[in-house]
């Protein structure tokens, strides 16, 4: 049965909505396949606005991998803004993909990538618009299998009722294995219906099917245990790890939108994983071990991606890009290769040390030196030991002095507020640090026009980190500390003039905390918030704290728990955490020991350069860290085109 495009119904509505070009698709390198010529069909969703979702690397990678399979079709869908949602409801238009404008409800699978928990209400919105029952148990064989991925899927319990399945970790191989299972099940005539399909997925051990697990609670509201409720289902679900990045050079054909998006650049992931061990960082914990892409692999991805996209900027992505063992060779080689082609290179995540300024200088030798960003994360030496972000004030001052003297005019510093054990004094140290930065910069350059911006986010404790047991700071505490910090920054007017301060209030972070460490009982809250109009919770103009507070009161308190219970309550060692049956590879005992080290203000080294500290990942996952140096150079450095990164023989005279 073929599936019709809804575009004819949608098109007349587009002049009535904001930024309609985000709904028309047709991006460069997008794929539209013949529906009837394929046997397994995926709709891939990023549950936020198109401009945020389009550049998402996870979706882009899976989209390309799936579409490379001859009998598989993958299309993308994003959250629609409330203006279009209202029109779609009025005119009976279902949630659609931007590629073929096909109804999402017609696909075999709906894969949703959650980079943040604040997309949960948008998941419900999309399911409802698609005509898919919100509760997984209400779905029939006719409905897509709804699968979550992304970092938030490491604790999918708050949305467990709405999901058929979740995949932890890297998706490259997992999507193909899931596709194969669905393909076979369909070819066999769908034996056993939806239940059998989910059982086949679950018995692989790498796909979590929430309905096959029962959660039992203690009288005090804590979890007693989480156990499988049928056979063929493992007690623990393991995370997926793609070991050789060079085997997966995606995206090869980056999507290039006509509409504006948040990142107008091409991205190449130069390594995955991080072993720096920052205790607040969920990404660093759950993506271990470190796996580097090779020099040749990076060089080829950059060139092919530029040829396919025409982008002017290449981002060399990872959790701490300067930590690639051959980063010097990579940056020098790429800067040489693309000299004179108006191609800029960037390292989005860098740590605080002078070496990084050298790298930044190399990358910007053909372009502008506007701003450099560093993330000390904590204002005082003490709190930085707690969070294991080993940056001394001396390092920072030396680094920014180098930056200012190399011509950089603006330095941006990232911090967090509300960290475990934090006091007002720790936060006020941020002001002193910023003032020292300005003082050092003025001295180094003899100029008054240098700037330092401090950007402060509220800390949210995350699952699978040493801080998973910590009490989250309440919004009043965070907001008070930020007020005091602002006063301290402004206290010295001469220096304060050159210091900018950016922060948000702590309320959205509390809700993010609820959704991050919640269990299945939080699902009722999410559903109620969505029914009350909650959407786009990551956007301050749509987020309503009161709506969440009210929904928590209505849905959680009858169960004997509360918003505070899930957020500002410290957990003890023996408590069963909602995600304990989901295996990130990290040893829970090691996490607890690291949490105790944090409270004792003890640091932990990086295992890339120092001996293993037994976090548990490598032995339990059968993996190993993969770092260079390989000793090779980024060769060949053939001259590329003149005035373009692409050499086109047809245009040579």
């Amino acid at each position: 049965m073929s599936v019709e495009s809804v575009f004819p119904q949608l098109e007349p509505l587009l002049p009535r909505v904001s930024k309609p070009v985000q709904y028309v698709g047709g991006e460069l390198n997008a794929t539209v396949k013949d529906w009837d010529a394929t046997s397994v069909r995926w709709a891939l969703m990023y549950p936020d606005a198109y401009e945020v979702g389009l550049p998402n690397q996870g979706v882009m990678i899976l989209y390309e991998i799936l579409n490379e399979q001859p009998d598989v079709l993958a299309e993308r869908t994003y959250a629609v803004w409330p203006d279009l949602e209202a029109l779609m409801r009025e005119h009976g238009i279902p949630q659609f993909t931007v590629d073929g404008h096909r109804p999402v409800g017609a696909f075999d699978l709906l894969g949703v990538s959650f980079a943040t928990e604040l997309g949960y209400t948008n998941l419900l919105g999309a399911l409802d618009l698609a005509g898919i029952p919100l509760h997984a148990t209400d779905r029939t064989d006719e409905h897509p299998v709804v699968i979550a991925g992304g970092h938030a899927a490491f604790n999918p319990e708050p949305i467990a009722d709405f999901l058929d399945a979740a995949v932890l970790g890297d998706g490259e191989e997992a999507v193909l294995e899931i596709t194969a299972i669905v393909r076979d099940w369909k070819a066999e005539g769908r034996p056993g219906g939806r239940d059998e399909l989910l059982a086949r997925l679950a018995e692989t051990g790498g796909v979590y099917v929430p309905r096959f697990y029962d959660v039992e609670y203690l009288p005090d509201g804590r979890i007693q245990r989480v156990v499988p409720n049928r056979d063929r289902v493992p007690y623990r679900v393991f995370k997926r790890t793609t070991m050789d990045l060079d085997d997966w050079p995606y995206p090869k054909q980056p999507l290039v939108p006509l509409a504006e998006s948040v990142h107008e650049r091409m991205s190449v992931e130069i390594f995955r994983g991080c072993t720096r061990g920052c205790r607040f960082c969920q990404a660093g914990m759950i993506t271990r071990p470190v796996r580097e892409r090779s020099l040749d692999g990076i060089g080829e991805m950059v060139q092919k991606g530029l040829e396919a996209s025409g982008f002017e900027e290449v981002g060399l992505l990872s959790l701490s890009s300067a930590d690639h063992s051959e980063i010097g060779e990579i940056t020098r080689g790429l800067a040489d290769r693309y000299e004179g082609t108006n191609t800029s290179l960037s390292l989005p995540s860098t740590r605080v040390d002078a070496f990084n300024v050298d790298l930044a200088n190399e990358l910007s030798r053909n372009g502008r030196r506007s701003g450099l960003t560093f993330a000390p994360e904590g204002g005082s030496e003490r709190i930085r030991r707690v969070i294991n972000k080993m940056v001394s004030e001396e390092d920072l001052i030396r680094t920014v002095t180098t930056a200012y003297s190399s011509g950089w005019r603006q330095v941006k510093l990232y911090f967090m507020c509300g960290l475990p054990t934090e006091t007002d004094e720790d936060v006020l140290q941020i002001a002193r640090m910023a003032q020292e930065v300005i003082r050092a910069g003025r001295e180094a350059t003899g100029r008054k026009d240098i700037r330092c911006t401090i950007s402060i986010g509220a800390f949210v404790p995350k699952p699978h980190t040493p801080f998973q047991w910590a009490a989250q700071a309440d919004p009043e505490t965070v907001d008070n500390r930020l007020r005091k910090l602002r006063a301290a920054v402004n206290a010295d007017r001469s220096l304060g003039r050159n210091i900018g301060m950016r922060y948000h209030d702590g309320k959205p972070s509390l809700i993010e905390g609820l959704l991050s460490r919640g269990d299945r009982r939080v699902g009722r809250v999410i559903e109620r918030v969505w029914r009350d109009g909650g959407r786009f919770d990551g956007w301050s103009e749509y987020f309503s704290f009161q709506r969440w507070v009210d929904a928590c009161a209505a849905e959680l308190e009858p169960l004997g728990v509360s918003l505070d219970w899930f957020t500002t309550r410290e957990r003890d060692e023996t408590e069963v955490l909602p995600w304990d049956h989901l295996d990130s590879g990290l040893d829970k005992e090691w996490l607890w020991a690291d949490w105790q080290d944090a409270l004792d203000e003890r640091e932990q080294d990086d295992c890339r350069w120092t001996p293993c500290f037994d976090c548990g990942v490598c032995p339990s996952m059968g993996t190993d860290i993969q770092v260079g140096p390989s000793g090779t150079a980024l060769l060949p450095i053939t001259p590329v085109g003149k005035g373009s990164p692409v050499r086109n023989p047809a245009l040579r005279s």
């Binding site: 587009l14 309609p20 070009v21 290039v256 107008e264 372009g367 005035g643 050499r647 047809a650 245009l651």
Partner: protein, 291 residues
């Protein structure tokens, strides 16, 4: 659309010249780019290269690099002078579904009979008033009502033919652009089809619904008079209110002659000479896709 064009230049490996300074950008200048929300079959752009290239090879390579719906129809070397000087006026075809062609014709007559027609436009600096009338060189109403058999009458090919004896020449410069909310379609590569374009059924409103079509030549002016402004003028003079948004397509651009015709802006001038600027090898006027 400008970004899409820049990226296509890079993908095609075009040896672009860049501006100097901290933030270099490729030397591309759009002349009279169409406003957002309209389609176009005739946009023109000038680019500066650091090497001389074969214009036809450049056309083919750039065309191949552009997304569907954006087509490069012709490339010629710059021959001195400003491209903008060759683009005096545009021919617009504005479809008005649900508008009675007779009412449209009457409104057009009133517009042409007036000396001044002031309309308001919202700009980022607030409301401003512009006089539309001097910019309107010619205007004609045409109609289409799809017959019971579904085959639309051809009505507006007449005015097009009359104004453009050299259909093929003009068509060869046209390109189409995806407008705001409009699907980029395969409606380009018409080559010489401009006269028969009226028969393309996908351009036509639903059978049985009246559709007025305004065909008008509008002079480049400061401030620019856009299709929307012409429609506003019809509202001012005759109270004409289209029930649904109009669909405007720029069909041609060029230099106005004394008879109100548009001359091909890429036609060679008396003594064609490649332009040379800034000591670099200058190259290229491209009839290209638009904004």
């Amino acid at each position: 659309m400008a970004r899409a064009f820049e990226r296509a230049l890079r993908r095609a490996g075009v040896p672009m010249a860049y501006s100097q300074g901290f933030n270099p950008h490729p030397k591309i200048s759009w002349a009279g780019a169409a406003p957002t929300g309209v389609a176009s079959e005739a946009e023109y752009v000038e680019i500066q290269l650091v090497e001389r290239v074969d214009p036809e090879v450049l056309r083919a390579e750039l065309d191949a690099a552009l997304p569907d719906g954006l087509d490069v129809l012709q490339v010629v070397p710059a021959s001195g002078g400003s491209l903008a000087d060759r683009l005096d006026a545009s021919l617009w075809r504005i479809e008005l579904p649900g508008v009675d062609p007779r009412a449209l014709a009457e409104a057009v007559d009133r517009l042409l009979a007036a000396d001044r027609v002031e309309v308001q436009r919202l700009t980022k600096d607030g409301r401003r008033t512009i006089d539309v009338r001097p910019a309107v060189v010619t205007a004609e109403a045409a109609s289409s009502v799809a017959g019971a058999g579904g085959s639309p009458d051809r009505v507006e090919s007449g005015p097009l033919r009359r104004r453009f004896p050299d259909d093929e020449e003009i068509a060869s410069n046209g390109t189409s652009v995806p407008g705001r909310g409009e699907r980029t379609a395969d409606n380009v590569a018409h080559g010489s089809q401009i006269g028969t374009r009226a028969a393309r059924t996908d351009d036509w409103p639903a059978p049985g619904r009246p559709c007025g079509i305004l065909v008008t030549v509008v002079r480049q002016a400061t401030p620019a008079v856009r299709p929307d402004d012409v429609l506003s003028a019809l509202r001012v003079v005759a109270g004409l209110e289209p029930p649904v948004p109009a669909k405007a397509t720029r069909m041609a651009q060029g230099q106005l002659d004394d008879d109100g015709r548009l001359a091909d802006p890429l036609a060679p001038v008396a003594a064609p000479q490649p332009a040379t600027r800034d000591g670099e090898s200058g190259q290229g006027v491209v009839a290209g896709p638009a904004v």
